[in-house]
Amino acid sequence: MIKFFSILSLLLICTLAQAQIKIVTTIPDLKSIAESVGGEYVDAFSIATGYQNPHFVDPKPSYILKLSKTDLFITVGLDLEIGWVPPLLNSSRNAKIQKGGEGYVDASTNVPLLQIPSGVNRAEGDIHIYGNPHYWLDPLNGKIIARTICTALIQSDPAHRMQFESNLKKFNDAIDTKMKEWNAMLKAMRGTKVIAYHNEWPYFEQRFGLKIVDFLEPKPGIPPTPSQLAKIINTMKRENIRIIINSPYFTSESADLVARNTGGTVVTLATSVGAYPTIKTYTDLFDYNVQQILSAVKE
């Protein structure tokens, strides 16, 4: 009998020891980074897919179920997900992941933000009052996000601190190595003027030295208008701009129209991990985008 209980206890301890930290992230990039840092000790799920507009995600009840059982909720923050995260959290019945709770992780913590507006007015379109929220599109910000996630993982599972710290170092080393590669590949592109569909590339632009001159959207969140497209066409012709950056979740009609009238090239960059089948990790995201830009220049 004692032997039976000993075995049972051992099995229980082993099960508990291997229990993974359940993580729900809003976008797959945060999931990828969490998996890189957490390794085998985490079980992560992303609500949004890589080819989905993260501003507009339906708060499906099935996500409530995921959130009700999760240990950590990692969000981009800065009101990027304000249209769909609050009703999910309110219905999750999970006190840990409410804003301010021990399991609520704002990935923007410590990220140096760009485009913090001095005033807020909805007449300017979908302005984010805390700054532009697309900060994960700078790989060096990925290192800051990873540090934030690592801290949350250690708080949640202090026993595996060493492993998390070790994984964090590997992740940072990989980014540093890749940065040399990406920087070398895009060296000739520094200062190149481009047009983008939506204002979601300032961090990528800053990191890799591109210069986004204007957007197909007349204001953030407002679909392209004929007058805006006419203005863009004139700008591209005047300033000899050749590249129009589109995103996977915007149809290409407007960008194609501008390209046809200017001889420019539309390049659809990935905004998140999983946007295309080959983009499986956070570093794949930049591999893909750098390659796409180079291909567009060669055309």
Binding site: S91, K99, T109, I129, D214, P218, P223
Partner: protein, 380 residues
């Protein structure tokens, strides 16, 4: 002729968006290889010592105001044309503490009979955030979860007005009650979303139910089932039941079902979507003479998003009247909705309404919904 005039007035509402360029982004050239994590954090501190705001630096609640302007032409009255501000809804919502959130909605609406505006409290709730066993409790004044559409506020419903079933049985804005609501996520081996909700309290008097003069309370139950059929499509199936006192101090009992199919391509979810929603109810009203009167209601709607900001839809309504036999209403509605942004909705709806207890009529209704402030997102 007057009908055509009214139609012209209603349809000449046009919307212009001023094209304006975005401020240029600025590329900052720096040596990528030299930038280290620590330096970035130092840079951040140097550039934005105190202005980095990640959450609102205030304990003020989210406050929003939503306006509802309407204009219609109807063949039902001598005065065929109306233009009026229907209602202003103000919402104040926030977490109370780590354990609960609160939600208040005040409405300032126009009385259709005397034309006077009056203020009222629509919603006032305290909702738990951290009860065990995936449970949640709401208490206060709220809309009971009997059928799917009843919990919506009019501005959140895709059509200009609620289905005849809701209007005839519960009123133009649906049913309200004061009491307590308890819900739990039901564990199941297939791990799909299933929520059971039980509510008890007193109904705000309407055509079917009465606030009650005895100790008889209103009890309502709802079972919600949600299935993800694919990445792009979902199915929501709900069952509802309620029982409570009616104006005769007898019992009225109801059962209802709701079924909603939604299709929305994940990648281009802002461009196209399709919704098919059908609900029905059966109502049994006991009378003082000991008889029971049964009546029914149902509607079915489809809505298709033809492009990023434009939706079309149609709805078929059938509705009896609670406690009255052999009285029914049938209606067909055609909807055109334009949403310049998520903060503004312009809708034009044609309705043909046939009733066997009153003259039939047609009407064209224009509605403009516009919101300012921070309004809480609606549930799926």
């Amino acid at each position: 002729m007057r009908f055509i005039q009214a139609l012209i007035i209603l349809t000449t509402s046009s919307y212009f968006l001023t094209a304006q360029s975005q401020t240029d982004s600025t590329a900052i050239a720096d040596s990528l290889l030299a930038v280290q994590l620590q330096e970035q954090m130092q840079q951040q501190n140097a550039l934005q010592p105190v202005s980095v705001v990640r959450t609102a630096p205030t304990t003020n609640p989210d406050i929003s105001a939503i306006g509802d302007f309407r204009s219609h032409y109807t063949t039902d009255r001598n005065r065929n044309i109306e233009l009026y501000f229907n209602a202003l809804e103000m919402q104040v919502t926030s977490v109370v503490d780590p354990y609960a959130s609160a939600n208040f909605i005040f409405s300032f609406g126009k009385d259709s009979l005397n034309g006077e505006y009056s203020a009222g409290l629509e919603i006032a709730t305290l909702t738990s955030l951290s009860l065990p066993y995936s449970s949640q409790i709401t208490l206060g004044k709220f809309k009971p979860h009997f059928t799917k559409v009843n919990i919506l506020h009019p501005h959140a419903f895709s059509f200009v007005d609620f289905p005849a079933m809701v209007k005839n049985f519960f009123g133009d804005e649906g049913m309200f009650m004061e009491g307590i609501s308890a819900s739990v996520l039901v564990p199941n081996p297939w791990d799909y979303f299933q929520e059971f909700k039980l509510e008890a309290g007193r109904a705000e008097s309407n055509a079917s139910l009465d606030n009650g003069s005895s100790n008889m309370l209103l009890y309502s139950a709802h079972l919600d089932n949600f299935f993800e059929l694919s990445d792009n499509s979902t199915l929501n199936v709900g069952l509802s039941a309620l029982t409570g006192p009616n104006a005769l101090n007898q019992r009225t009992s109801m059962a209802g079902f709701d079924l909603t199919y939604k299709w929305k391509p994940v990648q281009y979810n802002t461009y196209h979507s399709f919704t098919w929603q059908t609900e029905g109810l059966i109502c049994q009203s006991d009378t003082s003479s000991g008889n029971a009167v049964q009546s029914y209601g149902a509607y079915s709607l489809v809505e298709y998003q033809i492009e990023r900001r434009t939706f079309i839809g149609t709805r078929f309504d059938y509705s009896g009247l609670p406690g009255i036999e052999k009285s029914d209403e049938r209606a067909i509605s055609l909807l055109l909705r334009f949403q310049p942004t998520e903060f503004q909705i312009l809708a034009l709806e044609f309705q043909n309404i046939n009733r066997n207890y009153a003259p039939s009529f047609q009407q064209v209704v224009f509605r403009a919904i516009f919101g300012i402030g921070t309004h809480a997102a609606h549930a799926y």
